[in-house]
Amino acid sequence: MAFFLEALFGGLMAGMLYSLVALGFVLIFKASGVFNFAQGAMVLFAALAMARFSEWVPGWLGIDSQFLANVIAFVLAGACMFVLAWTIERLVLRHLVNQEGVTLLMATLGITYFLDGLGQGIFGSDIYKIDVGMPKDPVFLLDSVFEGGVMINLEDVYAACIAALLVFVLSMFFQKTTTGRALRAVADDHQAAQSIGIPLNRIWVIVWFVAGLTALVAGIIWGSKMGVQFSLTTVALRALPVIILGGLTSVPGAIIGGLIIGVGEKLSEVYVGPMVGGGIEIWFAYVLALVFLLFRPQGLFGEKIIDRV
């Protein structure tokens, strides 16, 4: 039982991190109808920027405090993401208005290649570490109930809390602010939004920037967990079934989907994996999402798909 709980918690925490990456996908898809494959590359880019800036900043400004350096690096990396969002809107999206979904998807794949090259070209392609003071020690819960207790990584708990907080802030931003309302309007109908005076281009910059920030947060958390390296981009591929399961347009869907996928992956790896030779978590999430789609083509919380001739 303790083992099961451990796996369950591990899955939930991993799921929270998946949903963090998935959030970036959902935000962009909602606001611009672009299925942003570059989210993974953005995570890598942001994490690289954060890691290298926090290394460089003490040298540039002569600061000793690691905390201050981290804050400055965060701001700088955020600025990078803003410049990136602006450039993408200016150079790519603006010219691809009204194209088919698959063309836009391909364009974001092009952006992925570009960002991979750019990020590693500027910031280097070694493995870097991000140290934002996340605790590394495991803690044991429920000692009294099970022998040895249930081991949980405190780092994971922090990460999950940060993810939850981010989700809360984002949903507040979407529900309560004027910009958030404008974003939702654009998501509903581009033309109608434009006709009541919402500037589409600015909205796109904002939404790519917000997605960039979630990529940054995800990059920091993943980066401090497993080091900043090229394999971070695969995190995005792991997050894809999450959004399919949760629905492409739903923020809560990204969270719930993430949790389901995280738990499913972990439990299947632990209980089914040994029977078929292990390593099944790579495809298990996809197959889970696929089976799910057969029953609910729009995902858990997606908008119902209505076909009209």
């Binding site: 194209q99 092009g110 960002l115 090259g117 591929l237 492409l248 789609l293 729009q298």
Partner: protein, 358 residues
């Protein structure tokens, strides 16, 4: 002046419906095929075969298959790499497990098994569409990657996990030197190209296109979506599977699942989009573009760096290469979202009037 159909009268339906109704087209294509079979072997060196021509031929065959699914039937697939893998591994298993099986039969059996897998993973297309389907087909990709890596039966219990074939021959003729490999792939491509061209202009091809343009409307006028979609998956994955078998047997010789990773799927989709969706010609253009571009960049960038007096390291070259590749793709999508095939048809239109526009 030269490219005009004036005076070419058709007196029968048969003549009117041939693949290339304009005589000039017919001659150019025939000349091109003759050149590919006779001219090229007399001209190029071994590097050219290995690095450009053979990959180009095989990948254009794969792109042709993907184009049938994506361009003609409108079902976006990110799992083409997996179908290539199925083709390669099942062809391998047929080849080594059945004593004395001819090479061509082994390759075709790879295509056959890819068809089965393709139909299986095409079933979700009956329920989900567009981008959801694209992600769903990724399931095929990851599952096949895993299966060929972990299930040792597929690799004939080979400890290293990679498989290899050697001493290939077709009907007594060896397929070993680059020239022989080139001619072998070229023959496959010509046959399948003709087959695909005829399929897409037949009744089934029109059904696919109707489904692509609007599946609900197509269903209303009496096209069976199940049949149309699954047949597109079947034909497409057959061709892709054969291409995968060729890629493994002829191009690589020995391979492991990484040769058919998700990057391969993206690459094939790029070929289709850049070449032109829903165009047989486009598949060839796209494949040529994607095969040649990285080689060109790889050769060109260091030279370019020297001109400006910057020594470019190998790592930087690969980064800049990926940047330029990405940027070019985006640029291409912006200037010509309908692909190179569209440019080709525009050029043909212009050529009809040239040089006397009135």
């Amino acid at each position: 002046m030269f490219y005009r159909e004036n005076g070419q009268f058709k007196t029968s339906y048969r003549a009117d419906q041939q693949i290339f109704p304009i005589a000039q087209d017919r001659w150019v294509i025939l000349a091109l095929i003759a050149f590919a079979f006779i001219g090229i072997p007399a001209m190029v060196d071994e590097y050219m075969y290995r690095a450009i021509l053979i990959p180009f031929l095989i990948l254009s065959l794969a792109a042709l298959g993907v184009n049938i699914l994506v361009g003609y039937c409108g079902q976006i697939s990110l799992g083409s790499g997996a179908f290539m893998a199925v083709g390669a591994y099942m062809a391998y298993n047929t080849y080594i497990r059945i004593e004395g099986v001819p090479l061509i039969l082994a390759l075709l059996s790879g295509g056959f098994f890819a068809t089965l897998v393709g139909i299986f993973f095409g079933i979700p297309s009956l329920r989900v569409k567009g981008l959801y389907l694209a992600v769903a087909t990724l399931a095929a990709q990851f599952f096949c990657d895993w299966a060929f890596l972990r299930i040792s039966w597929f690799t004939n219990n080979n400890a290293s996990g990679s498989v290899s074939v050697s001493n290939l021959s077709v009907m007594g003729l060896p397929v070993g030197t680059p020239v022989e490999k080139y001619l072998f792939c070229l023959s496959f491509l010509v046959v399948f190209g003709l087959l695909a061209k005829n399929l897409v202009r037949s009744a089934i091809g029109r059904e696919w296109m109707a489904i692509r343009d609007m599946d609900v409307a197509a269903a209303v006028i009496g096209i069976r979506p199940v049949y149309a979609k699954l047949s597109a998956f079947a034909v497409s994955s057959f061709i892709v599977g054969v291409a995968g078998a060729l890629w493994g047997f002829i191009h690589l010789g020995s391979w492991e699942p990484a040769a058919f990773s998700i990057d391969r799927s993206f690459q094939l989709l790029f070929m289709v989009i850049i070449g032109g969706m829903g165009s047989i010609m486009g598949s060839f253009f796209g494949a040529a573009f994607i095969v040649v571009l990285p080689i060109f960049l790889n050769q060109f960038l260091p030279v370019f760096g020297e001109v400006f007096g910057i020594g470019i390291s190998t790592a930087t070259v690969s980064h800049v290469e990926s940047m330029v590749f990405g940027a070019l793709i985006v640029w291409f999508l912006i200037v010509e979202p309908h692909g190179l095939a569209k440019l080709w048809s525009i050029a043909k239109q212009k050529l009809r009037l040239w040089p006397f526009p009135h």
